[in-house]
Symmetry: C2
Subunit: 212 residues, 2 copies
């Protein structure tokens, strides 16, 4: 066995903690239920993590590790701005949906657990974010993206649109007036036409008026 029994039990406890905390929130998640979901006794939980607080901290680190692992597979860029951003948007959106419960929890309890929330959200999204920044910077130098945009702010606007979309879908999925796909497509379109230079305007294919 590559992993010891100790490590396997620890991992099961962390996964169970993620599961229960996502359902019940941090305050609502009891050590009893976490241990039960993990299939171990409550005493074992406290032998691995001396307090609930320490378990929470370990959970945050665990998630961070999982995320940067999942996003490690570098997507190949085609240099087609609209196509690449579509790929990126769906990658990001799917990640958000997969971890919706956790995202909600950390947003809601960010004030009470600032260091963990910061750790999870900032560190987990950092590599993907930097890749996108480098990609857009490349486009800026090639003249297809406007040079007068703050790249950090712009990227956060982009991911923020997708995040907010996911949050809103759960709250009122019925009477939104649009589908998930429609929303994401709108995000992409808005973003591309917002950062692209006038020369590079991919959207209105009919009769481009000459720019002045």
């Amino acid at each position: 066995m590559g992993t010891s029994k100790l490590a396997r039990t620890r991992d099961r406890l962390l996964e169970a903690a993620i599961d229960v905390m996502a359902r019940e929130g941090i305050v609502g998640a009891t050590t009893r239920e976490i241990a039960q979901v993990a299939g171990v006794s409550e005493v074992t939980l406290f032998r691995h993590f001396r307090t609930k607080e320490q378990l929470l901290s370990a959970v945050a680190q665990h998630i961070t590790a999982l995320q940067s692992e999942a996003l490690a597979n570098t997507a190949e860029w085609t240099q087609d701005l609209h196509r690449d951003l579509t790929h990126y948007a769906w990658l990001y959106n799917n990640m958000l949906e997969k971890h919706e419960a956790l995202v909600r929890m950390f947003i809601g309890e960010a004030q009470r657990h600032p260091e963990e929330a910061l750790q999870v959200f900032q560190q987990a999204a950092l590599p993907l974010r930097q890749k996108l920044a480098a990609y857009l910077q490349n486009h800026v130098e090639r003249g297809s993206v406007r040079a007068d945009v703050n790249l950090s702010a712009t990227i956060d606007v982009f991911t923020g649109m997708l995040l907010a979309g996911m949050l809103r879908r759960r709250i009122s999925p019925t009477c939104l007036g649009y589908s998930k796909e429609e929303y994401v497509v709108h995000c992409i379109r808005l973003f591309v036409s917002g950062i692209a230079t006038p020369q590079y305007t991919p959207l209105p294919s009919v009769e481009l008026p000459p720019q002045l």
Copy 2:
């Protein structure tokens, strides 16, 4: 006295509940502390609201009422798309910042309290949202906003950008690489250039927020 003692105590309890719940979350907010903050005994709390659940429900209604009241003052539109949306964006952003703790709480606990979260977020933002929809529809008919956009989706993208910006600012305010003002300005610029028709391409002049 316009308001009876009964109603005043009830109001103080509701305000205290908002205060404590915003700080501690719904699960973390204890009836003891809510009563203490309200300056009444815990028994009085239970005489006004038979259970904690019922108190939560009353809180949701109270917030909804407060919000639609605050947004009742109709802003006059100047028909200048960029200018009007700037005004709207700052109005919305300030509202979000004012109620940040509550927004966070309801996002985080939306799954466990679906009806209250829906009530607060949907109903509170509804009038403002409808006004913006009507305004944009007007611009569509006048040809300054593209006709091929889903207005509902587009509005949600706009408000979503602002919401996500507020959420992110609290988590990592230091190392963002941009200011709040910069973020909001980027939102506006992205949005305007994304929905405007090619004929109507406003020159993006940096606008300052109305006030702190």
